[in-house]
């Protein structure tokens, strides 16, 4: 395993909640804190590491309603639709994905809100703004798995 992979491995789980967490992680890899932090900065500047941060279970943070909404957007309007949707604070993820012959949806948005009504308002607002009316709200009924990726 390369040094970088070892660092990814150290950060893909939880960092210790203590004053100098990186020093501890570095020691576990036989590195100095300086070396570890320098490698971390390198990973960040190359965009490999987005950030070190707290990941919240949004449902427990008060965002009890969420829906993955799949939209069928005419190709010429994908860019403007995507930008409009992305600008909304209650939309956390917005991606263009391929449609399939029996599945015309090519744009996916994750909408979060504190109630179902809030979600509907966001979706209705997008319909009005963009004129795209063909969509499916794929409400989650059961969570089987939700975890973070283990890379190495």
């Amino acid at each position: 395993m390369t040094k970088e992979q070892a660092i990814v491995r150290a950060l893909q789980g939880d960092i210790p909640l203590e004053p100098a967490p990186f020093k501890k992680l570095a020691a576990g890899l036989g590195l100095t804190e300086e070396k570890f932090l320098a490698a971390l900065a390198g990973l960040k500047s190359r965009g490999v590491l987005r950030s070190v941060r707290a990941i919240v279970r949004h449902k427990r943070a008060g965002y009890s309603a969420n829906a993955m909404v799949a939209w069928s957007v005419p190709r010429a309007r994908v860019l403007s639709f995507g930008r409009t949707a992305a600008a909304l604070p209650s939309i956390s993820h917005c991606y263009e994905r391929p449609a399939r012959p029996d599945w015309p949806y090519n744009l996916y948005t994750m909408v979060h809100g504190r109630s179902r009504a809030e979600i509907s308002k966001v979706v209705d607002g997008l319909v009005k703004k963009t004129g795209v009316k063909n969509y499916l709200a794929l409400e989650s009924l059961r969570e089987f798995k939700k975890t973070s990726m283990v890379y190495f």
């Binding site: 893909q12 909640l17 100098a20 990186f22 941060r53 990941i55 993820h93 989650s140 969570e143 973070s148």
Partner: protein, 150 residues
């Protein structure tokens, strides 16, 4: 009820924990909260389960992984069993039953090229009860925001 100081800490920690020797002191410095209190609040919310994890968030692709979102239609009587089987695979990080014709959705990441993803999807497609299973890899990313102001 979330106290004002807790909101400050949770929102700041969701945005970025700086990569410095004393990250919690640095984070607290920006919002006027002492290091010890930052740590106390983060520990408490971790324990409560509001915080799922405190660690690195990576750009999967730049680590040499390929990923996709997959939607499947599974016979209702087989749904739980299929979901369990699919969730066993470590590269599956999210797996949900959702309302509608396609009733099972999951994310999948594997080391290497998209061919590895397709192979895995093909294997899932062969599970008994799976009527269809489509892979919808990202064509264009418009937004990924993972900040939930508390």
């Amino acid at each position: 009820m979330v106290k004002r100081v807790e909101k400050l800490v949770l929102d700041a920690a969701q945005a970025d924990i700086p990569a410095v020797s004393r990250p919690f002191a640095a984070l607290g410095g920006k919002i006027g909260v002492p290091e010890a209190e930052v740590l106390k609040i983060l520990k408490a919310y971790k324990k409560k389960g509001v915080i799922r994890r405190i660690g690195g968030s990576f750009e999967t692709r730049k680590l040499g992984f390929s990923s996709t979102l997959a939607g499947a239609r599974v016979k209702p009587s087989r749904l739980a069993a299929v979901a369990k089987e699919i969730s066993k695979f470590p590269g599956v990080t999210h797996c949900y039953e959702r309302a509608g014709e396609m009733n099972l959705w999951f994310t999948l990441g594997v080391r290497g090229t998209m061919a590895g993803v397709d192979k895995k999807i093909a294997a899932f497609r062969r599970l008994p009860g799976v009527e269809k299973c489509y892979s919808f890899p990202v064509k264009k990313m418009f937004k990924i925001k993972t900040m939930f102001p508390v």
